[in-house]
């Protein structure tokens, strides 16, 4: 994902002049981002964009505002997340891989994964989660399965899934089957790919 692609996707927003002016303003007056960030959804809309897939107009506009900052990206991203409503927090999480911040904003991922808001958990598992330590990443993937977040949101799932995650998923599956409940299909598929779980129908019928 690049800022140019997000900008092109927002070509048809209801108030493009507002977005242009806001982007110019944060480039010279970074503190202005607080109020502009809050207002972005009212100005640019909240609907899904045809491209890039999985992005909404407000997320894209807010991510662009963050990329337009001249510096202090990590400090301002942290502040916007801490003071944001759920949609603003989600937009900060989506923007993290686009910012020159290294691993500085990993604490925001920890915060998002601690919540029970599935939109935040999902947004925390994008490309920036490559900075997340493996133990926390495994717990987050397990929490996706537990709370019904589709595993398609997890960046680099197959590259990173390991034997320990397989063991954790298999244990969850055992609890679910013992209770007469099912596992989401994407989780059983992952278990099968990891070579570590019996097929759920087999377990249920056993």
């Amino acid at each position: 994902m690049t800022p140019d692609r997000l900008r092109a996707a927002l070509h048809d927003v209801s108030d493009p002049q507002w977005l242009d002016a806001a982007l110019r303003r944060v480039a010279t007056e970074p503190a202005a981002i607080a109020r502009l960030f809050a207002a972005a959804a009212r100005r640019c809309g909240r609907g899904p964009l045809p491209d890039p897939p999985g992005w909404t107009a407000d997320e894209a506009a807010r991510a662009l505002l963050l990329t337009a900052l001249p510096g202090d990206h990590a400090v301002l991203a942290d502040s916007l997340y801490r003071h944001g409503d759920a949609a603003e927090k989600r937009a900060v999480l989506r923007a993290l891989p686009l910012l020159p911040i290294g691993a500085e904003c990993v604490p925001l991922l920890h915060d998002a994964i601690r919540t029970n808001d599935t939109r935040l958990i999902a947004a925390a598992l994008g490309p920036y989660a490559r900075h997340l330590e493996q133990a926390a990443w495994r717990q987050a993937v397990l929490k996706c399965v537990f709370t019904g977040v589709p595993l398609a949101v997890v960046d680099d799932l197959d590259g990173r899934a390991d034997g320990e995650l397989a063991a954790m998923l298999a244990a969850l599956a055992a609890e679910r089957y013992a209770a007469g409940r099912s596992m989401p299909a994407d989780a059983t598929d992952l278990l099968a790919r990891l070579g570590a779980g019996s097929h759920p129908t087999t377990a249920l019928e056993a």
Partner: protein, 283 residues
Amino acid sequence: MRIFDPHIHMTSRTTDDYERMAAAGVRAVVEPAFWLGQPRTSVDSFVDYFDSLIGWEPFRAGQFGVRHHATVALNPKEANDPRCRPVLDVLPRYLDKDGVVAVGEIGYDSMTPAEDAAFAGQLALAVAHDLPALVHTPHRDKARGVERTLAVVAESGIEPGRVLVDHLNEVTVKLVRDTGCWLGFSIYPETKMSPPRMVELLKTYGTERMLVNSAADWGRSDPLLTRATGEAMLLAGFTEDDVDRVLWRNPVEFYGQSGRLDLSDLDAPEPTFAGNSILRGGE
């Protein structure tokens, strides 16, 4: 019957309530910031509360197909506590948020000088942020409290049509009817108003600028009394359109003045996450 409850403290209610409300036709709510029973002792406690009103609670409501907005303010009772008054300094941040559709609840509890200052200051914040104001009226010394409330509102310069004066009854309705302010009535199991009494007021004063809420919170209250009032209206000869005006169009018109009321996609199946229901979240 579609119902918009313009005043309900969902933070204090259970998921059973959300389920029953949705089944009864409640599709949208506004949750005003207020006191929690237990007094708060610091600004940080308010910050966590306000964050919940624009974060977790709308998410929780959405799981049951209920659209949730909030009003934010330092309430009159805690305006008297010097530890809480600096809340006024963090309010502007929240008054910029999408989910915040008014400043409230503001107004009087015991009519102290500290309440005077917080009330006037927050009416000025409403004007500065181009937001309506939700005004609580005191439960004790109520008639004089309403008179004083209306004087402060007039002095503030806020347009009366952007003010909702709440918790009115047979005595205080007369004071507000001709001011241009909107009139709110809280229907309670025993105190405040009841559905039959509310119907009598609607017969006398009509349906214009009249709002009915449950004000359900942590005390004895019932989130379905909005629906019961609608049914009592129909039994008394009001039309379906009258009920829709009081229980849906009036609150939409009042809070719609914020420019932030988002009732889009309310008819869409709520809410799925790429096809997966999130209702089992946290099981």
